[in-house]
C-alpha cells in the first residue's frame, strides 16, 4: 500500500502509513523511521514517529519536497518485519493505589471492579509503546483491555508526580517528570523514564514491549532492589 504524504509547511512531510492505533501500522512506521535513519536522504534533519505516521523534517535549502517525497515512496517498499520484530519485554514495577495511584478506586468503581481486578487487568497485558511524545520520555502504550477503557478526568491535574502510571481510554502511559495532565493515575513506578545526561536518555523507545508488575511501597523506596 503506498503511503499518503502530506506537507507540514515547507520543511515537513507527514507520511501516513495507515489509520488508527494498530500494531501492524505502527510497526511499519518504526521500520520506515529506521530505514530513513540508515539511508539518510540528503537534507533530512530528523524523523518523528507516531501511531500511524512518520514526520520527516527536512531543510528546504538542501532538499526539494517533491524529490524527497519520491525518495520516501521508494523507501516505503519494504517487507513487514512481522509481529516478532521486537519482543524483548521490558518489566516496569508499579506501586498501585493509595497515595501512588489516587484514581485507582475511582477507576475500579467506574467499571464495577475490585481494585485487585483492575491491577490484574493492567498487569495482565503486554503493551506496545506506540510513540514517545507529550513530554520527554512519555510512552503512549496500548492497548488497554476493553474492561479498563476509562475516560480522562473531567478536570486535569496541574501537578502529577514523576513516575505516575496512568490510563485514558484504551491507552496507558507514564509521566517521566512532574507535569500537568488529565489521565487517571492508578500507580507509580520508581524507574526513571528520562535522564538527559544518559547516553540513552529515554528508558523506553517506540516499538518496545512493556509489562507492568506490582510491587509494594517499601520495595519502591529501596528501588533498585
Amino acid at each position: 500500500m503506498p503511503p499518503m504524504i502530506r506537507h507540514l509547511g515547507d520543511r515537513g512531510l507527514l507520511v501516513e502509513l495507515g489509520r488508527g492505533i494498530d500494531p501492524a501500522v505502527n510497526r511499519r512506521v518504526k521500520q520506515l523511521h529506521r530505514i530513513i535513519a540508515r539511508e539518510r536522504p540528503h537534507g533530512v534533519v530528523e524523523t518523528v514517529p507516531a501511531y500511524a505516521s512518520l514526520l520527516v523534517v527536512f531543510d528546504p535549502l538542501q532538499a526539494s519536497p517533491e524529490a524527497l517525497k519520491r525518495q520516501i515512496i521508494g523507501l516505503c517498499d519494504f517487507e513487514d518485519a512481522g509481529p516478532t520484530e521486537d519482543r524483548t519485554v521490558v518489566e516496569i514495577p508499579v506501586v498501585y493505589g493509595g497515595e501512588a495511584g489516587p484514581d485507582l478506586d475511582a477507576v475500579a468503581a467506574h467499571h464495577g471492579l475490585s481494585r485487585e481486578a483492575v491491577i490484574g487487568l493492567h498487569t495482565g497485558t503486554v503493551y506496545r509503546v506506540y510513540m514517545i511524545g507529550f513530554t520527554p520520555g512519555f510512552p503512549y502504550m496500548g492497548e488497554l483491555p476493553e474492561a479498563l477503557d476509562t475516560p480522562r478526568r473531567d478536570t486535569p491535574r496541574t501537578h502529577i508526580p514523576k513516575g505516575s502510571v496512568a490510563i485514558a481510554q484504551r491507552q496507558t502511559g507514564i509521566y517521566p517528570a512532574v507535569s500537568p495532565g488529565g489521565w487517571q493515575i492508578i500507580g507509580r513506578t520508581p524507574v526513571a523514564l528520562f535522564d538527559p545526561r544518559q547516553e540513552t536518555p529515554s528508558f523506553l523507545t517506540m516499538g518496545d514491549a512493556v509489562r507492568f508488575t506490582p510491587i509494594t511501597a517499601e520495595e519502591a523506596a529501596q528501588w533498585p532492589l
Partner: protein, 320 residues
C-alpha cells in the same frame, strides 16, 4: 581557567533563559528542539560579537530585565526593542558594544516586539546537554541549571577578552529585523486543512487575530473569530509529529501557533507558517494583530533564501 563569571542577573523580568539554535534529532523520544524563539535575532547577535551563530545567548521577554557585567565583555542586543540602556544611557541595538565590570544593562519595557537577545563575545560557558545549550524549561534541563534565570544567578563566559576587538560592529538597517505590532504571517495550508468547512478556511485567511496574554514559549494563542470544524467531527485526531509554526485548532476553535517546545500533537493543523517567517513568531507580543496569507512552496523557498542571504552577508562581512 577559561570560564569567568561574566554576567549577574539583578532582575530576570517575566522570563529570561539561555537559548541557542536548538536541539535537533530527539523528536523520537519526545524531546522538542527548544532554542531561540526569534532565531534570526539570536544568530545575528552572535555574529556581531564574533561568535558562531549557534552560540548560547540570553533570551529576554518583554520587560523588567536588569543585569550587571562582571568582566570586560563585548555584547550586542538584538530582537525586540525593550528600550535597552547601559548605565542609564540608551544603547544602540544590532551593534557590538563594550561593557566594563560593574556596568548595568537594562531592558525595562517594550516599544515593539516580545523577545530581545543579549549575546556576549565567547558565549555563555555552560555544558551542552544532548547537543545544545538551550533551556528546556518544561523538562528542566539544558541552559543554566535547566531553568529560567533568577536574581543573583551568575552566568559564566568563555574567554570574553578574546572578543573585545569586535566592539563597534553593526549591520545595515535593512538587515535589522525590526518588530512591528501588525503582522502578516505567510503560511502553507496544513495537513488537515481540507477537514475544515470552506467558510472556516475563508474566515481564517480574512480575520485579524489578536495575540493573547496567555501566549508563552510553547505557543502563540490567538483571540478572534473561532474556526469551526465539520459538524460532528471529534475535537482531536490521532497524535502525530508537529513542527514550530504549525497552527492548531483545538476544541474551542481558537488558533494556537506552536513554537519549538512540542514534538507531537493531536489537534488539526489548518496551516503552517513558512520557515522564513518563523523568527517573527518569537516577536508576537500580547495585543499585536496577526493575519495569515496563503503562499506556495516555491515562494516560501525564495523567501527563506532571502533570510539566509542576509545571515550570509553578516557572516561574510565579519569573518576574519
Amino acid at each position: 581557567m577559561a570560564a569567568v563569571d561574566l554576567l549577574e542577573i539583578i532582575t530576570p523580568g517575566i522570563l529570561a533563559s539561555i537559548q541557542d539554535a536548538g536541539r535537533q534529532g530527539f523528536g523520537e523520544i519526545g524531546v522538542a528542539p527548544s532554542g531561540a524563539a526569534d532565531g534570526y535575532a539570536c544568530r545575528i547577535g552572535n555574529l556581531l560579537v564574533g561568535n558562531l551563530e549557534n552560540a548560547a545567548a540570553l533570551e529576554i521577554t518583554l520587560m523588567g530585565f536588569q543585569a550587571r557585567f562582571l568582566t570586560e565583555t563585548v555584547f550586542a542586543v538584538t530582537g525586540a526593542d525593550l528600550q535597552p540602556s547601559l548605565n542609564g544611557r540608551a544603547l544602540p541595538m544590532w551593534t557590538a558594544l563594550k561593557a566594563a565590570p560593574g556596568d548595568i544593562v537594562d531592558l525595562p519595557s517594550p516599544v515593539c516586539g516580545c523577545r530581545a537577545y543579549l549575546a556576549v563575545g565567547g558565549g555563555f560557558h555552560l555544558p551542552a546537554v544532548m547537543g545544545s545549550r538551550s533551556t528546556n524549561i518544561g523538562a528542566g534541563f539544558g541552559g543554566f541549571e535547566g531553568r529560567m534565570l533568577r536574581a543573583g544567578d551568575r552566568l559564566p563566559g568563555c574567554r570574553p577578552a578574546h572578543y573585545l576587538s569586535c566592539a563597534g560592529r553593526s549591520i545595515p538597517d535593512t538587515l535589522k529585523a525590526l518588530p512591528v505590532s501588525e503582522w502578516v504571517l505567510r503560511v502553507i495550508p496544513g495537513p488537515q486543512h481540507e477537514q475544515f468547512p470552506a467558510a472556516s478556511r475563508r474566515q481564517f485567511y480574512e480575520a485579524a487575530y489578536t495575540v493573547s496574554g496567555k501566549s508563552d514559549r510553547t505557543g502563540v494563542r490567538l483571540e478572534g473569530p473561532t474556526i469551526e470544524k465539520e459538524a460532528g467531527a471529534p475535537d482531536s485526531i490521532l497524535s502525530e509529529g508537529i513542527l514550530c509554526g504549525a497552527i492548531q485548532i483545538p476544541g474551542d476553535g481558537k488558533p494556537i501557533i506552536l513554537l519549538n517546545e512540542t514534538v507531537t500533537g493531536g489537534y488539526r493543523k489548518i496551516a503552517v507558517v513558512i520557515a522564513a517567517d518563523l523568527p517573527l513568531l518569537g516577536q508576537l507580543a500580547p495585543g499585536d494583530t496577526v493575519r495569515f496569507q496563503e503562499t506556495d512552496l516555491s515562494s516560501a523557498l525564495d523567501l527563506l533564501r532571502r533570510v539566509e542571504a542576509a545571515v550570509d552577508w553578516v557572516r561574510g562581512n565579519f569573518s576574519d
